[in-house]
Amino acid sequence: MDAIRLPAERRWADELAALAATDDRPKPQGWALSPKAAWRFVVGEDEPIVYTDDAGTEQTISITRKVVGHDVLVQRAITTLASDRALLLVGEPGTAKSWLSEHLAAAISGTSRHTIQGTAGLTEDQIKYAWNYALLLAEGPSPRALVPAPLYLGMQQGALVRFEEITRAPHEVQDTLLQALSEKLLMVPELSGDEGLVLARPGFNVIATANTRDRGVHEMSAALKRRFHFETVPPIADLAQEMAVVRSQIEERTAQSPAAAVTLDEGVLELLVTTFHELRDGRTADGTQLSRPSNAMSTAEAVAVGQNAVLQAAFFGEQVVEPQHVVMQLAGTVAKEEAGEAKVLRDYFEVAVKPRAARDVGLWKAYYAARDQI
């Protein structure tokens, strides 16, 4: 299908089918896969799966790793979703919280589409249900006139509901979830009898995300917090793992473009990821203190910088990403909050890059030479 991006359940349909076909472990009611199979889907595995598809043909497929470095966290998240508590993934922006939430929903419910996007303008009807006003005026309140929103659908179908950036939504709107999470029901007072009551089917639960930079924008109520188990998703701690993630994401994003043939040397990738890693940590690998930018310097942003560098090499370069391409893309990422923050990046080049350039380590000399591009 011609789409920029497919939802997880469609993108990994083969893997999910293979896991479902070979899943011999007990499943919680309403789950598409067992907890173990859902975990294997997210963290991947080395051994390929051999299974027989619906057409009776034997297939072999490898389960790719979707999330790096958080295997135990994923276990806890899946286990929480099998309990009567909802799951809240918290962490810095760009730490793959939404990515994890999408893949968990795809594995557990077979769909990741029951998604509420938290914004300052979010209203209750965008969470629960709204009305088709033409029908409402013509017929009065009726199930036909009701337009179900993600929470309604998740409860009705017994599926996971994703609530992205929950703390960006106002308090009163967040608290819409209270009854659904504690009593597992949703009232539609405009409808009478059973039609006015949605009882959640097994498999229903909520995965919310919140980034720690927005803490305090709309802090959750204590009552709502109690209905969630929190999981903090940290940035990837291992440089090599982060490099692998950045490379695979860049390749995936540029696969269908003229930039697919561009060479991204491992040394250039190391410059990019090391810069993000060190600025995020506020110190270099050898322990020298650095100023931290207000931006989170997430893996997702490293991917964006890498992707832009590849595109630049494709469109304006010689089909090979050079250190200067990375430098040119960095300034806009680091100095997002205010232009003065470019100084943080310039300081980084003086404190961390210059000594490496002086020792002529790898491509650091060329990287340092390109610092005027900041």
Partner: protein, 811 residues
Amino acid sequence: MPRKKRLRPPSPENVDAGVQAILEDSGLVWMGIKHYSPACAIHVRRLIEERPFAAVLIEGPDDANELIPWLVHEDTVPPVTILSSWVDKSNKLGKNGEWSVSKDVPARYRGWWPFVVHGPEYAAVVTAAEREVPTYFIDASLKAQLPTLHSVEQRPSDRGLAENRFFAELATRTGHPTFDAFWDATFEAGAFRTSTEAFRKAVLTFAWCARHVSGAGDDPNNALREAHMRSWIDKLRKTHPDGDLLILTGAYHSVALPFLKGKRAPGKPDAQSKTLLCAHSYRALARLAPGSPNPGFGEAVFRAARNHAASPHQEAVLEVLVRAVDDLRQRGLPLGTADAVGALQVAQGLAHLREQAAPTARDAADAATSAFVKGDVRTAGPEVMHALRRALRGSALGQVAEGAGQPPLLQDFYLQAKAHRLDVTGTERMVRCDIHKQVKHQEKSAFLHRCRVLDIPCFGGIPDTDGPFKGPDWVSGDDLHLTTETWAFAWTEEVDDRLVELSDRGPSIREAAAAMLYEELRSAGTDVAAVADVVASIAQVQTTDLLPVALEALLAAAASDDAFEHLVRALEQTGALAGYLSALRRNIEETRIAEASDALYTRSCLTLPSVRNVPDEEATTFVTRIQSLVRIGVTPGPDGSPRDRALLLDRLAEVATTEGAQPMVRGAAQGLLHTFGALSERQVVASLQAYLNGPTESVLSGGAFLEGLLRVARSTIVTSERLLAAVNETLQRLDEDAFRRVLPDFRRAFSVFIPAEIADLGVRVAGLVDPVPHEVLVFPESERQWAAEMDATIHERFETWISSCGTPGAG
């Protein structure tokens, strides 16, 4: 570099054959265990209950066999520990100075064999006693192990298994972070649904693979102990020829012992050896014993299993989660029973996901992270994790039957506490000691200071202080004006653990404190300030019999330490020491103290010129030290004899006349010499002018010189017109940029003056700037009249305006 031998997977046939040979060993029943394992404890109990044994042999020190009746005594409550100690007074092992602070401080060796209610060793001893089966400890004693020890501490551990390459690879492949997590998931979680024979075989199989795949290594301690244990087994086989012997050792040994030859380890207990049964605590166990981080959890599992719970681990997980919630609620976190239930659900789910038969301590910790941390785990997580660790650890305190004998140090502590009427119930009490008037209070003060030196956790905190004590502190030099001491005494459950740890240092608190201070004295080496601190401590804890050797060490350190600041600090300490002993009316070692003080004074004077080169950032500290030395130099020594003032002035002059000396230090030296009349005002001003008339950098140094000068000789210099004029002239001459640069230093220099002095200086400087006094302005009469009329008019207009504002409707 030698290549690492590649691990070869064991052939299943070989493993089976090896394990089968152990299981079929005639007359010997090998039970491989993991120390502190509830699963092993339950199966050991079952084994002894189900099969008749002629004797039970246990991995424990054979010099503690006499303690077995006390271990199973009805008044003994675990956790308890066998504690062996040996002090190498004559350096037989040659480790003194290497494993102790110096050659003349004996290395102290200790061995601990803890017994917990959920441990297989305790289960074996108790069950055997119930069945009247003789029990023996068969391991080499601490004394016998000494030549092969790797450190001064010896504790039962599962190092053989835990640090094994076979295990490391196995754990990685099965996704377990540690040996304990692997063991819990594999052997503990499902143990209660397994038959004892199957469990025994599984443990032996694992141990066989661990030992035979990656090799036993060449640890001489291991070899010595195993040969010794085997010699006991052979001996007891002859003693009990008619029945089976149950042999309970760490699984790592169980798979080797059947195939070894026995050899008794030499080394019998001597006068320096002690082996005792002592009370222990889970807190100490978790801290000191490898492999037992969660004794509270282990006990909960064992208790639930003994009560035939369907899932002992699940019961135990629930217990620790509820305990953690209670703990956190008391600390103000809004958690409730529903959260504990939620966490239990997660723990069960994790166990299921991890393919375990039941949740373990690791699952409980993960579940608590999910369910109790309401926020970012980096900020909200540590408090939850601490509460969970406390719950997993438990808080049990052991007890030893009366008559078993306690370490004398423990007895002495409680006897003394009683004699000084100190509350040992755990309630914090304020204790006052009037050390100048009452001998009893002096004794109480000494006891409390000794406890403090020994780091016995029996103190609370005094408000507005950093610690448990407020009063004259002769070590730090704080509050020497006070006449009474106030102590916050608060006995804690950890007191006994600490006393047990210290028990090899001496039979009484006094002797233990003296031993500790002696070690500190040796650690201080040639740092004369550190030695002087120890000397002050010795006086404060009133172990004055140590004073001669301490003073000797002080004299030796004074002769070799060239650091001026160390010498002055030691000199101050020695003076305070003399005063303290005099205040207590303890006129001891007066001659030696005077001798030390004299030597320190001389050495301080001799090293004084070294301060010329101190870094700028340390100059203030050194000026203070020089002032201290001068203060001491002008007062008589402890024996009343005058100090050598000429030496002091001579060395001060060396500093004062060195042009390149650090300027603040040089200024201070000149100020002091001027105070003594050894340097004229003109000379001081000339030095200052030399700085001030130079380039800007030199003027900056002038600021520092002036600061040093004013710090030590403020009152003399304040009257110096020449000095003031020199400063004024310089400041007037400087351009604006230079003035801005030197301003902070000059400002700081003059900050030594009080406001009244500043005002006085201001008037004098005004005189320098404008020597003509201001005349009073006299106005003509007509102008004065005009001004008075204007004033009256303005006054009238204001009155009118104010009254109109108060009228309703007025604008």
